[in-house]
């Protein structure tokens, strides 16, 4: 039950966040809040010389929102926009799955731990807030790929 939601991977990312407050040359920034609870995440997106993405985030909120931001940053940093797009789509799909999907671990890595969260409607927004901020900052930075 609680263990369903709070898998070890999630607790680990919460306690040891990756990619938080990284120094990036921001080309696009997005600040997202969850107005029902006050959770906040700011995501900055920049570009490396090789055309891969730099992603940094700051924020405060529950374990799910902060762990998700950490996983997001780990997954997306260093990927090209083309490589990032299917990962982003897969995470969205996972969160819509109500615990029913079999997520692609090759693609989502630690992100698969969030399958339990998708069973708790009140917590899905927590898991998505950083991914929403990422998508929005990519649009602002024009570093997005047309999704097909």
């Amino acid at each position: 039950m609680s263990e369903d939601l709070y898998q070890e991977i999630i607790l680990d990312h919460y306690k040891n966040p990756r990619g938080k407050e990284l120094n990036v040359t921001s080309r696009g920034q997005s600040h997202q809040v969850n107005p029902t609870c006050g959770d906040e995440v700011t995501v900055d997106v920049g570009l490396n010389a090789d055309g891969t993405l730099q992603v940094a985030y700051t924020g405060q909120g529950c374990s799910i929102s902060q762990a998700s931001a950490s996983v997001m940053s780990e997954l997306i940093n260093g990927k090209t926009p083309d490589q990032a797009a299917p990962i982003q789509a897969a995470f969205m799909e996972l969160m819509r799955s109500k615990g029913q999907s079999e997520p692609d671990e090759e693609l989502l890595e630690d992100g698969v731990a969030f399958i339990g969260v998708s069973k708790f409607p009140a917590r899905i927004k927590c898991a998505l807030i950083s991914w929403m901020a990422l998508a929005d900052s990519q649009i602002k930075a024009q570093l997005t790929t047309e999704m097909r």
Binding site: S2, Y6, C37, D39, Q60, R123
Partner: protein, 425 residues
């Protein structure tokens, strides 16, 4: 006093299980549960007397009208008000908006040269006074009124303990209305509203009190509070959702422009202009919430039978117990008054290192329903430097065993998260 076991037996939902265990409902500040007496009253109305009120020449229409107007009388008696001073609204939020829009609409009409009551005309140079512990429902309507009219918004700040800081000079001769919460839904603080209403009247301003968290939990005499308007909701006092109350002094209600317009609220209608019914009908456009009014009246009777003094005493004991038990936990800090002086039954707290969402989730896994978040009091949270809180809010059907289960839930959260990082503000 009353027999808690007997009371609990009146609430069907309290016998259900949640997450494999008994439900421990500690979220009555958000909405109360309903006794079968209220559910039966609504059902009885639909099964026997359902019709649109104030129209139709048939027996059912008469019965429905009697039920609706009888409900108004019962609810008025419950708060020591006159019957025609009770306006039914969708909820407390709409009740407050109704008053804010009276200002807005009167001001618009005055600009057109239409004669209106000057007490409701507001503009640049005028002020509206609220407090830093208002629910968004008693804040945003006034922010909007200010942005439409050029009036300025002022507020009483709060102390670190969550008490109102009633500084002089906030209410002055520019003030047109003072709108203050009686009991804070986040902090539990009970405010000296009578004193504040006197300050408002001393400068010729009107006064509104938000009674959402007080009417369900303590005896309230709206006239004795000294306000001009009062707003509260039905669903927090054992009644149905979809019904709220605006109480207003008759002479004020009758000099306010209508809010929502249409059927039922008119006196005479021509193709190009109309006149309006006296209050309360002037504010009840369309077919109203009859079954909900019947249910709410039954809720008032239920509460009266138990005795509001008894309910208040019971909850005071329970709140003192809650505060004492929370004080025993390391790393738990109450947000709001920690003593029982002028304090109601909403108890907010934060747990070191664990975000309120996670605390609430772990409590839920023990069957304990609590509210987490900013409780529609975002400015209050900012002032007290917490991103959010977890809130235990009790009612007449709760007992110490519920609090004990909540404490176990908090301990489970502390246990589960172990050495989680501190929550940054």
């Amino acid at each position: 006093m009353f027999d808690i076991a007997k009371v609990r037996a009146d609430f069907p939902i309290l016998s259900r299980t949640v997450r494999g265990g008994p439900l421990v409902y500690l979220d009555s500040g958000a909405t109360s549960q309903k006794p079968f007496q209220v559910l039966d009253a609504e059902r009885h109305f639909y099964e026997n007397s359902n019709a649109a009120v104030h129209r139709g020449a048939h027996a059912l229409a008469e019965e429905a009208t009697d039920a609706y107007e009888g409900a108004r009388e019962t609810i008025a008696t419950f708060v020591c008000a006159e019957t025609d001073e009770i306006v039914f609204t969708k909820n407390a939020t709409e009740a407050i908006n109704l008053v804010a829009y009276a200002f807005s609409n009167a001001t618009d009409k005055a600009r057109q040269g239409i004669e209106v009551d000057q007490r409701f005309v507001i503009g640049p140079g005028d002020s509206i006074v609220v407090s830093e512990m208002e629910h968004h429902a008693n804040l945003i309507p006034w922010q909007e009124l200010c942005s439409k009219t050029g009036a300025s918004l002022r507020w009483f700040g709060i102390t670190d303990e969550g008490r109102l800081n009633i500084e002089s000079g906030v209410i002055d001769s520019t003030t047109k209305i003072v709108s203050i919460v009686h009991q804070s839904n986040l902090l539990g603080t009970i405010n000296p509203v009578r004193e504040i209403m006197e300050m408002a009247h001393a400068v010729g301003a009107l006064g509104l009190v938000d009674l959402c968290q007080s009417v369900p939990h303590m005896p309230v005499d709206v006239v004795d509070l000294g306000a001009d308007f009062a707003a509260w909701s039905g669903h927090k006092m054992l009644g149905p959702t979809g019904i709220g109350i605006l109480w207003g002094k008759s002479d004020l209600l009758n000099s306010m422009p209508p809010f929502l317009t249409g059927g039922s609220m008119i006196e005479m209608v021509n193709i190009d202009h109309s006149t309006f019914a006296p209050a309360p009908k002037r504010f009840e456009a369309g077919v109203p919430m009859v079954a909900q009014a019947v249910g709410l009246a039954r809720a008032c009777e239920y509460l009266t039978d138990l005795g509001m003094e008894n309910i208040f005493t019971h909850e005071q004991e329970l709140t003192a117990y809650t505060l004492a038990e929370l004080a025993k936990l390391q790393g738990v800090r109450v947000i709001g008054p920690t003593d029982m002086v002028e304090r109601g039954s909403a108890v907010s707290f934060v747990v070191d290192g664990i975000h309120p969402h996670d605390v609430g989730h772990l409590m839920d896994s023990k069957g304990v329903a609590v509210r987490v978040g900013h409780h529609c009091c975002w400015p209050t949270c900012r002032r007290l430097d917490v991103p959010a809180t977890t809130r235990i809010s009790t009612y007449l059907y709760n007992d110490k065993a519920d609090i004990d289960q909540a404490i176990l839930g908090i301990m489970a959260a502390q246990d589960f998260f172990g050495s989680a990082p501190r929550v940054s503000a």
